[in-house]
Symmetry: D2
Subunit: 333 residues, 4 copies
């Protein structure tokens, strides 16, 4: 960490600040320039509030030099992490295709979709049992019953399954689930992240609606700091002023994340755009930008899906996306 001290600061003021920094167990290197003095702070600077430093009258500016994320940082772990999800590899050149309905509605529906997406090339099945909805009056998912149906679909198709958790107290219900999803709204639900960090499940962590790339990595760090490093990151669009699409998909976050972390990074064009006709181009774009996989909503009858139907593809449309994406993948490799 570096603090640039204003020229107007008195020797006494600087000394007072340096003393306090040393009390925080930091080494302080002082470089006196013609126009300002630079303090270099070495040691465990995580305890220092940078906003506080920046707010001090004598400080022109303070800046962290080192990145606050450690375990997920590629600097300290240069090789790609490859996660094995029930035999399906993710990361390090292994591309995953997660598909399925937004909500699980019935046994017939989830089994039918599961078979169809498997045939089309999906490697994992997704389906929502616990649904975070903006309104308490909207359909909240079939909950535990939905999980049962999803497990049935897993048994029938042999595909690993992905489904969202909203409450750490529900963990016992997720014992047979292969990948536990943390939704955008819970990306900074630190209590949930810490509980998931104590499991050895693969966690699919979605980027929050308005979270920076660094905050996203810090949330992965929460899970890793508890011992679980089976994490797949997922870009799913951020909130901007543009209203034509539901969110603005930040495709550039894919290569940026891959530069900063060794964890696999996938993309969800369905939620990012909210429009089924944009899923193909944005799936292509994600793959072309180097994503390690895709998560796509597929429904057997999009017009009647209970939620998020606007962004669902039919199994036939999904098969078309898979073919095109595989062609793009060949160019990338």
């Amino acid at each position: 960490m570096i603090a640039v001290i204003k020229n107007s600061a008195t020797a006494d003021q600087i000394e007072h600040l340096v003393d306090w920094l040393k009390e925080q167990s930091l080494d302080v290197h002082i470089s006196k320039g013609a126009d300002y003095t630079v303090l270099g702070l070495v040691g465990d600077t995580t305890k220092i509030d940078i906003d506080l430093l920046n707010n001090l009258a004598i400080v022109e500016t303070a800046k962290r030099v080192s990145e606050p994320f450690k375990q997920c940082n590629r600097k300290f772990h240069p090789e790609d992490t490859v996660i094995d999800v029930g035999g399906v590899k993710v990361g390090g050149g292994n591309f995953c295709l997660i598909a399925g309905p937004c909500s699980i509605e019935s046994e017939e529906q989830i089994i039918e979709v599961a078979k169809a997406v498997k045939k089309a090339g999906a490697t994992m099945l997704r389906g929502g049992a616990f649904k975070p909805r903006t309104s308490p009056y909207d359909f909240q998912g079939l909950k535990a019953d939905g999980l049962e149906l999803l497990l049935e679909a897993k048994k029938v198709t042999g595909m690993p399954i992905v489904t969202e958790i909203m409450n750490p107290n529900h963990l016992p219900l997720f014992e047979e689930v292969d990948v536990i999803q943390v939704g955008a709204r819970n990306m900074q639900n630190f209590e949930l992240l810490k509980e998931l960090g104590k499991t050895n499940k693969t966690i699919l962590l979605k980027r929050g609606l308005a979270n920076t790339i660094k905050e996203f990595l810090m949330s992965a760090e929460y899970i890793m700091s508890e011992g679980n490093s089976n994490i797949i990151l997922c870009e799913r669009g951020i909130r901007t002023y543009e209203t034509y699409t539901r969110n603005t998909m930040d495709i550039s976050a894919i290569p940026v994340l891959q530069e900063l972390t060794h964890l696999p990074v996938i993309a969800d064009p369905s939620h990012a755009t909210g429009k089924s006709r944009l899923v193909l181009p944005m799936a292509m774009a994600s793959a072309a930008a180097g994503a390690d996989g895709l998560m796509i909503e597929v429904h057997n009858d999009p017009a009647k899906a209970l939620c998020d139907g606007a962004q669902s593809l039919t199994p036939e449309e999904f098969a078309g996306v898979v073919n095109k994406v595989n062609d793009v993948r060949k160019v990338i490799l």
Copy 2:
């Protein structure tokens, strides 16, 4: 809900859609115009996914006419809700002043600040025991021990206390807490909201970092739908592209919320701006815009606060804010 159908739609297509809408137990009124057909949907439209409708090929546009929030809606409850917090009234012309440190650090600190803010005019004491931090390596608060110290301060000063909850499983620890705060990052932690809805505690609900006013009200609705209507809403700044202040304080949200809901609306200029020298002008602006109260960070030694110190006032500065704000309040009334 209204759906405008394109002129290019065939009679068959319209009939197919109308049939499906009727299956969803809705009454459908059809008005055929020269250039488009308007379907008026009456009944419980909450089950209808508006994005799905908007995505249908024959639909030009679909729009909800009625507001999705019910219990917190001023239309159905025109009088201001007045909440009684241990004898301190909030809302309906009763202005509350909540003050205290960001984090509880020691018995000496919290008692000293509590006495100082009480003397300066605060009506409630705030202090963080469980702290949501972006990094797992940052100070996370004194947790249960911090709550003990806060309860001690309550006993000494007689002031009602406000503190944040992050996990519904911690609720038993909050039995003596007067106001339970839900932080910005948990505004859409629906599982937490539902648990708090089952208590009769006053809930201080902070607006999420990038949540709309309508989403904010829907989160209040989650609490109310479980039976608890003791809710204070708090504007605390939203995330924008501007980086000079930590967030952009949306002062206009104060009168807008008061128009839409009967719940009290307070403002937190400390977190909104992240700079102590902006607390006075923004506290003034909030009061002038009609806020029902303020929440302000006060620390006995701002330069050494363990977190968020940049935005803390000294007790003397806080007393100055209280005096000025009270003068503004007289103009408003």
Copy 3:
């Protein structure tokens, strides 16, 4: 346009509004429902301020049904527009590759870069002569002298040239320029757009920093309404809260624009990201999403470029991008 009238409105109030709407030369169709009355407004509704309608006490909501852009609207002109720029076709399946330095610095520099990018596959040469800079103290370009050098490079290489205009009074200097660029900051400089609409030059219109897709199309409409329909639209990133990249590239705007308009849509990954190492993945993503071309900054000595050097590629790196992008294009077609 549709206006939904509240049930609380009196017959008199509705009549008063209908009368005023008729005075504006509109036909008004009234559909009375059980819960609201819908007014369908037919005719030239462009004169009606929708915010005004929405603000009226008796209006629940008002909404435009038809899109405000006409001449650039694909509905009225379903085939792709193909623009011929000095023999280089753009749009309708013709992919253009515009490359060159941010600023023209010297004859040697621009000629060297021009030759290098031509060899690497560029079809047009870009170079800034008039530079919009945030600070009046920053390098503003070589201006008229820069244009001379760019024309020299055109003569030497035979490539059509693209350069930015900032002032309609400079138009005489642009006589030999093939494509005139309107930068993001001038996207809503309507006086400039109108002047360019009176020429028959090809206009490269960049999306404004925080402009919606609809506003972008309305700016194209300004140029077309004056008679010039030789317009290439360019997505170049929008301003969001994320600071890791200079802007957030809105890749989804590419297919959305192509759906709404018949004009060609290209992408500028250099300005969008501000980082040279992100140009390759974002160029790939743009091509995969269906862009009609790319504009990429190339400099013979990136480390010493006077401006925007951080986002420039070397000619060798650019050649690598061209090869990869051409492979992606084969998948798309």
Copy 4:
């Protein structure tokens, strides 16, 4: 400017960079720490592209220490600038009240509104003759004829007038105009700013839709760098994800700007919110936050204004705002 060099950099690489920096006429002070090396750059660093430095492989981070705005910077001009507009003082404790219609529509209208707002306490009259509209098909103002009518209203009431310019070529028409407004869309129309900098007119510069406070000041700097320092800054709302209000009014920008610059700072609650019923609370908030004045839309018949009517007050409502704001001003002083 400071550049922090990574520990992995070789002595050769550092020397190469230092040599290049010296070629740019900078003095370079090198401080070697245990974990990084800090280069302090002294001299005219405006020519250095900070993004370029940040992008170099050996640079961990680069940061400007000094602010890029000079002439408008309060550091170099601590006293408030007081501008005299035809006898009306603005800034340094002098509060101005600018009122009038969005568009000038007729002689009767502008004279009537002018008299009414003068009686209610306005000190300047505003009215739009040249109107920037998103659509070329929307009413663009009465242009030169509108200016004539505004000058007539000036003659009748004696009030200084404020109106917007969109094209530097129109300057001759503005000879009798007291304050020339630069609208939000033209805040970075640098050619226009430079032309206005050559006049001695007072310029009312509105903040751009998505511009930072620093960019706002740099635009003022463009005008000042040409010799004109009669500038009034105006906060008018920024573009965010929130759609309930037309923009999000950044009230905190008022005290921040006053801290950074000596120029007067006023606020426009009409355009910021787009809703007439929010003008009173936001005018109050602006005054309470310390604004040097207000600009408010007033129309004699809000329901029939040709544009922006939704945000206009009647003269009676405006008089109410003036009274309340004056009371708040007394508390501030």
